[in-house]
Amino acid sequence: MFAFAIRSLAQGVLVLVTVAFIAFSMFRFVGDPVVNMLGQEATQQDRQELTERLGLNDPWPIQFARFLGDAAQGEFGVSYRQGRKVSDLIRERLPATLELAVLSAIFATGLGVLLGVYAAINRTGFVSNVIMTTSLIGVSLPTFLIGIGLIYIFAVELRWLPSFGRGEVVRLGWWSTGLLTESGRKSLILPVLTLGFFQLTLIMRLVRAEMLEVMRADFIRFARARGIADRSIELRHALRNTLIPVVTIAGLQLGSVIAFAIVTETVFQWPGLGALFVNAVQFADVPVMSAYLMFVAAVFVIVNLTVDLLYFILDPRLRSGRRVAKGH
């Protein structure tokens, strides 16, 4: 188990270094940082001095090593457009995105597993058919359309919920949360639904399919033959076996929810990292772009690591590691 964790960790680091290299090369291919920083009025002398001071005359492996060292400490330089440290910008925007993404993930996995199990157990029921049909809409409608549709119904027509922004936020240290005020909570509802709806339907369909598969397994038949109660067979024996593959997909989906909340953030004018990135792209703000790239990679690496470790909790066959292979 320990060796496995180390191996996963090493793989994660390798991924991060590779992505860092891509983020690093962006600086070299997208514009000249010296020109960006000094403007067009500067003299040749100024430029050479700045180039030397920034270490841009060093060989690229040294520059890359320096970039890695800074990145490891969360430093990505200064935004070209806003003139502020990228790390500060990210720290400022991170709470909004995380709050949105985590709530969406909880909404999607919680309700998704629940509905999936229900639809699997009552396969032919009317409610199951309604759930399955609705889920098709969720899988096929693009996120922005769902967002705009929700805004139209709940913000424009019914006027129940705000259509943009985070509402009032409360600062807790460097973290800002919308969960402690009523307007903050209200503002979260529509974006959370929008961001989570696709994941919800995906997870639900996955849980249903997996569960139906597991319910056909021999050990379920054997459990029935032992007289175990139906509820116990469904919710103990079958569900736990169902969750193993579901954890993988749900984990990866959580990663993409955090990383690619861009569309939802744009639709709802949500002041998160996605919006920051979209603005950065428009102005070729390379430090922000490369920092965002690193952030996305880090999220996926962390999520994957967590999923790998979750397997150990869920599946005893992995815990005994190598012995299994030799087994019978």
Binding site: A225, R226, G227, N241, L314, H328
Partner: protein, 337 residues
């Protein structure tokens, strides 16, 4: 009538004229036809036949686990004087595991991979018996000891994948016996195991059931296992019992041509045989069972009557057979079948 009179009074299990159908789009398929047999207390009934003859289906029907679109279309199943084929889902659930234990073919897939074996045994005990968790665990430990798991106090907390195939089947047997049932239905319990392990498992099953007085319905296509283990044997063909009787009589003097064909296919150690006899052809599919005797197309001794009507099960000496060749010998031939 039929074979009932040769078993002891008050059988543990009594199956009467059981029929089972599958309702499909192309029509109704009869998978089991007028199955009747008894199993006495402590008796081992072997059920043999080739794949698709309805052996496993009979076992599954008794325990009430027939999946749709299958359904019982006739007959009765009695367990110790209680009718169990019409008692509904919850009634059956209390019978399963508690009064009828089941052992499936593949021990590798019979156990839930995510639960410790001790917990699975204790779960079965707790489901059926009013005991505390500690008591259930103590019983699970005793059962594991009894089925011959080495160092059971350590193995009780192991997961199924940590056992070999043979050891897993021992765990499955412990599970089937956990709530002290009256009857064990063992559906090909050794087919998935190494030959060297098969004998151990059969011996174990036989010993445990004998000491507890548990009856066994042993479904297999291994005549060797039947010869060694069973008290009586039922030979099935295309959804019917074609011969049933004491194992020695059926093996030495089979009355039905299909049964004698099966016996001819057993290699005997020591005897010099050039070729094992073989029954030509294959068992008909459910949707293509010929009228009359289903075995007629493959039967070397078929007579005109065979194509006309299904022969009744008639008493021939110590056994009963469903064959027109023996009709004349038995005056009591009822209108069954």
């Amino acid at each position: 009538m039929m074979a009932a009179d040769e078993t002891a009074m008050d059988p543990v299990l009594s199956v009467r004229n059981l029929s089972l159908e599958f309702v499909t789009r192309r029509g109704v398929l009869r998978a089991l036809n007028e199955i009747s047999f008894d199993i006495a207390r402590g008796e081992v009934l072997g059920v043999v036949g080739e794949s698709g003859a309805g052996k496993s289906l009979t076992g599954t029907a008794i325990i009430g686990l027939i999946d749709k679109p299958g359904r019982l279309s006739g007959g009765e199943i009695w367990l110790k004087g209680q009718r169990i084929d019409n008692i509904g889902h919850d009634g059956l659930r209390k019978i399963r595991g508690r009064r009828i234990g089941m052992i499936f073919q593949d021990p590798l897939t019979s156990l839930n991979p995510l639960f410790r074996v001790g917990d699975q045994i204790a779960e079965t005990i707790l489901t059926h018996m009013p005991v505390s968790k500690a008591e259930a665990r103590a019983r699970a430990l005793a059962l594991l000891t009894e089925v011959g798991i080495p160092a059971p106090e350590n193995r009780i907390d192991a997961y199924p994948h940590e056992f070999s195939g043979g050891m897993r089947q021992r765990v499955v047997i412990a599970l089937a016996l956990a709530a002290e049932p009256d009857l064990i239905i063992a559906d090909e319990p050794t087919t998935a195991l190494d030959v060297s392990v098969q004998a151990q498992i059969i011996t174990l099953l036989k010993r445990l059931c004998r000491t507890r007085g548990t009856s066994v319905m042993l479904i297999t296509h291994d005549m060797g296992v039947i010869a060694e283990t069973a008290d009586r044997v039922a030979v099935m063909y295309a959804g019917r019992i074609v011969e049933i009787g004491p194992v020695a009589d059926v093996i030495r003097h089979p009355k039905h041509p299909y049964a004698s064909g099966l016996m001819g296919a057993i290699p005997a150690l020591g005897a010099k045989v050039q070729r094992l006899t073989q029954i030509s052809g294959a068992m008909p599919r459910l949707n293509a069972i010929p009228p009359g005797c289903a075995f007629r197309p493959r039967c070397m001794q078929a007579i005109g009557k065979c194509a006309e009507a299904v022969p009744p099960l008639v008493r021939v000496g110590a056994t009963s057979a469903r064959c027109w060749l023996h009709e004349e010998q038995d005056e009591r031939s009822a209108a069954h079948g």
